[in-house]
């Protein structure tokens, strides 16, 4: 998992691919559902489209200070999906299909996660 977080710091998203059956996992896992423990890293795409979303206004107790926040599922370019927060977008302008990218999200010095943000349009 160190490799996953190290890569994330560089803005890369690493998944795991089974050497036996070829199944891809994002987030990565150490063992494949086929029973094989031989998995290798692969670099997953960081661009995709919004698949679904919800604006959470009633959070669980531990998340109270972050609310309201938007939890989204994005479908990446290779078809895999990921769940994370999305920021930099107004809830009102959100819609299924919105182009998004996965970016690293440094929560504190020793904690890193990923989040979605609307894809930068190069004008």
């Amino acid at each position: 998992m160190v490799k996953f977080t190290e890569a994330l710091k560089q803005g890369k998203l690493m998944g795991a691919k089974c050497k036996k059956c070829g199944e891809k996992y994002l987030p990565p896992r150490a063992h494949c559902r086929c029973g094989s423990h031989e998995v290798e890293w692969y670099e997953a795409p960081t661009r995709g489209k919004l698949f679904s979303y919800t604006l959470v206004t009633f959070p669980p107790d531990s998340m109270t200070k972050y609310a309201p926040y938007i939890v989204a599922v994005a479908e990446l370019e290779d078809g895999s999906r990921l769940l994370a927060h999305i920021t930099g977008v107004s809830p009102k302008t959100l819609q299924v299909g919105l182009p998004v990218q996965v970016v690293p999200h440094q929560i504190s010095e020793d904690r890193i996660a990923y989040k979605f943000k609307p894809e930068q349009t190069t004008v």
Partner: protein, 379 residues
């Protein structure tokens, strides 16, 4: 099914989990006309010891209700715990290990408060990859609702219509947590929880208990003249992470469990006279119409729109008030569904009776389909 009992669901800070269980067990024994000494074993469904701050809550309840040295199994299947209990009891009887089994479902949740209750339940999501993003159960079902609305044009109003129906029938159920009707306008305008779901789209956090006594065919005929038979059982599971699911507009586990149950009972969705489906959220009930085959995929919104899940419609669904109005004390819910269907098939449901109901169905989902049990009953 030879005996049923139901405690009053609600904010039951007047009591404790063992006393609440007793409140359901006592009438179930009276209903069957037997004593605790005639029970061969118990299956006790409590979704988590966390709520009652009691590890091994099964042992606590089993002892308190007077089952002494009889064998006891405690089951856990999140919100589907009660139905896991029914299926376990059925299996014990079918295997010949017992002839009469008491299933008790109980949970006391309200004392922790809604914020903490949401927290504990959210920890049943993948705690490494999904829970840290603050996803909750309303949140997970909201992701499904967003998608269902996007793909099929299901409307905000249709979601609220489910809640209006639940409250209409819950108001007629003396055991329900919230016995009051709501208008469509009230349901549509309530406080947002996880958009597009608002307060009235979400089931209640409740305390409650229910009990059901199952017996072998031979024994059941000796105990009662009005047994209700379990003729079909199905169960299935799904991925822990909802982001891994190919579709978010239905629950694969529901479809698989239903297929098994229909096949075993040799019936089709058209034969179901009355159903209790897992309406933890309004969207969940709409998806259940589709997953259980009451209507075509994508037409769940239309099904409630047309009143097909009301008494008089195609499949009267959750006419006991459902999880929304009756309440959802996790471990008790599946047993409560069984109690309701048994009442309906015996013709004892009073104002909520579906006239002439012959075949009933329960559909109980744990988490977002990581557990699912579908059972079919006949009289």
């Amino acid at each position: 099914m030879v005996g049923i009992g139901h405690a009053k669901f609600g904010k039951r800070t007047d009591t404790t989990i063992r006393e609440l269980a007793h409140e359901a067990v006592r009438p179930s024994l009276e209903d069957a006309g037997i004593t605790a000494s005639e029970i061969d074993a118990s299956v006790i469904g409590v979704a988590s010891g966390v709520w009652a701050a009691q590890a091994s809550p099964g042992a606590l309840i089993h002892d308190y209700v007077g089952l002494g040295n009889k064998p006891m199994f405690r089951v856990e299947a999140a919100c589907a715990t009660g139905s896991a209990g029914i299926q376990t009891a059925w299996s014990l009887i079918k295997a010949g290990l017992a002839e009469v089994v008491m299933v008790i479902g109980a949970e006391t949740m309200t004392h922790v408060g809604t914020s903490m209750a949401t927290e504990w339940m959210a920890r049943a999501c993948d705690t490494r990859w999904e829970y840290p993003f603050g996803i909750t159960f309303p949140g997970s079902y909201a992701l499904m609702a967003t998608r269902h609305m996007h793909e099929f044009g299901t409307t905000r109003m249709q979601l609220s219509m489910v809640s209006v129906k639940s409250h209409k029938y819950g108001a007629m159920n003396p055991y329900a947590h919230l016995q009051k009707e709501v208008t469509l306008e009230e349901a549509m305008k309530s406080v947002p929880i996880c958009q597009p779901l608002n307060l009235y789209d979400c089931c209640l956090i409740s305390d409650g208990a229910a009990a059901a006594i199952l017996a072998s065919e031979e024994k059941a005929k000796k105990i009662t003249d009005t047994p209700v038979w379990i003729t079909g059982l199905g169960s299935a599971s799904d991925t822990m992470m909802i982001s891994e699911r190919p579709s978010l507009t239905g629950l694969v586990a529901s479809r698989l469990a239903a297929e098994q149950a229909y096949k075993m009972a040799r019936v089709t969705p058209n034969d179901i006279d009355v159903a209790c489906t897992h309406d933890c959220f309004s969207i969940a009930e709409i998806m259940s119409y589709e997953d259980l085959g009451f209507c075509k995929k994508g037409e769940g919104g239309k099904f409630i729109d047309e009143g097909q899940s009301y008494i008089g419609g195609k499949v009267p669904t959750n006419v006991d008030g459902g999880l929304k109005s009756k309440g959802h004390p996790l471990g008790a819910t599946g047993v409560s569904m069984t109690v309701e269907i048994t009442k309906q098939l015996r013709g004892e449901a009073g104002k909520r009776q579906v006239n002439g109901a012959q075949i009933g169905l329960t559909h109980n989902v744990g988490e977002t389909g990581q557990y699912c049990f579908v059972h079919i009953y006949t009289r």
